[in-house]
């Protein structure tokens, strides 16, 4: 999927379409490239696998799961963005990053040929959080950057805490 570049809100030239997953977290719609997902699991089905972080200073990471001998931190997307509290039911385990997303539900799958650049007026953390904006018939939805939520600094601190003691959930 192309990341839109210099021109405001103009996508790159039409390319082949790639699937995206539109999900809801904290009542807000977001999207993520389907190729960034390794696995989608219900929270119920993960209950036996997840470990709780005992000293989570990061309130939006409460659990870890193991995949391929690596610890993935489960980020509550609603809590991370300060969205209204909801009852998440799904965990999206991401591919290639040590992060899984706790979300309310999958809204739909869709296909996009490009995403629109975030307007330059947006100059905060959102430039790291999002790859850009996906335009659907019902509006613009931020396209989550799989590498954008947990920084290396976050991971370093979380690793230190995880070593300090994880207990089964």
């Amino acid at each position: 999927m192309n990341r839109a570049g210099q021109l405001q809100g103009k996508p790159a030239a039409a390319q082949r379409q790639e699937p995206v997953i539109v999900f809801v977290a904290g009542g807000a719609q977001m999207a993520i490239p389907a190729g960034a997902l390794h696995e989608i699991r219900s929270t119920d089905s993960l209950a036996g696998e997840a470990a709780m972080l005992q000293r989570a200073d990061f309130p939006w990471v409460r659990h870890t799961i193991e995949r391929g001998g690596t610890t993935h931190y489960v980020v509550s997307v609603g809590s991370y963005f300060g969205l209204p509290r909801t009852r998440p039911s799904l965990v999206l385990v991401l591919r290639g990053v040590r992060c899984a997303l706790l979300v309310d539900r999958i809204e739909r799958m869709d296909a996009l040929s490009s995403i629109y650049a975030l307007p330059r007026a947006f100059q905060g953390d959102e430039r790291q959080w999002y790859l850009g904006l996906a335009l659907f018939e019902d509006g613009a939805v931020p396209m989550l950057n799989p590498h954008g939520l947990l920084t290396s600094e976050h991971l370093e601190k979380l690793d230190a805490r995880a070593v300090a003691g994880a207990v089964p959930a």
Partner: protein, 156 residues
């Protein structure tokens, strides 16, 4: 706003951010692209002060900046239009949408007055309209004056 000293007489767009007389402000006409009817505002989490979200206009995504909060001290609860303005980012120019409460007016051949020293930095000066001083906005400084916002994820 540097054009003010070079071209003393110029055109301005008068915009309304509320029902009161003092809710009127002016922008150089050459900073304004068009006036557009209100359309769907899409919001998402972000940390940039002063931005409400985005609108899609002619297949472009435009940031929506709520300047009323800074200029009048209150949010614009009802807006009928977006004033589409040009913002410069280095050599690039991007369009941005400012919600306004009513029609905008083009004022021609006006000589602006310099900024009063006590006035906020985001006032570049003022224009005289039938004896009333209408503040002339400096969009860049106005954008910088917006109060900060904070999202949970950016705390750690």
């Amino acid at each position: 706003m540097s054009g003010m000293s070079e071209l003393p007489e110029s055109n301005y767009v008068l915009l309304r951010l509320g029902p009161a007389q003092q809710d009127r402000f002016a922008l150089p006409a050459d900073a304004v692209e068009e006036l557009a009817s209100a359309s769907r505002l899409d919001k998402f989490p972000h940390t940039t002060p002063g931005l409400d979200g985005v609108i899609v206009r002619r297949k472009r995504v435009l940031a929506v900046r709520d300047v009323a909060r800074v200029l009048t001290g209150r949010a614009l609860l009802v807006h009928r239009f977006y004033l589409i303005v040009r913002r410069r980012y280095g050599s690039a120019v991007e369009l941005e949408a400012i919600p306004v409460s009513g029609d905008c007016e083009l004022i021609g051949g006006v000589i602006p007055m310099p900024r009063n020293g006590d006035a906020p930095e985001y006032f570049a000066g003022s224009i005289d309209l039938a004896g009333e001083q209408i503040p002339l906005l400096d969009l860049e400084k106005l954008a910088a004056a917006a109060p900060a916002t904070q999202f949970a994820g950016s705390r750690a």
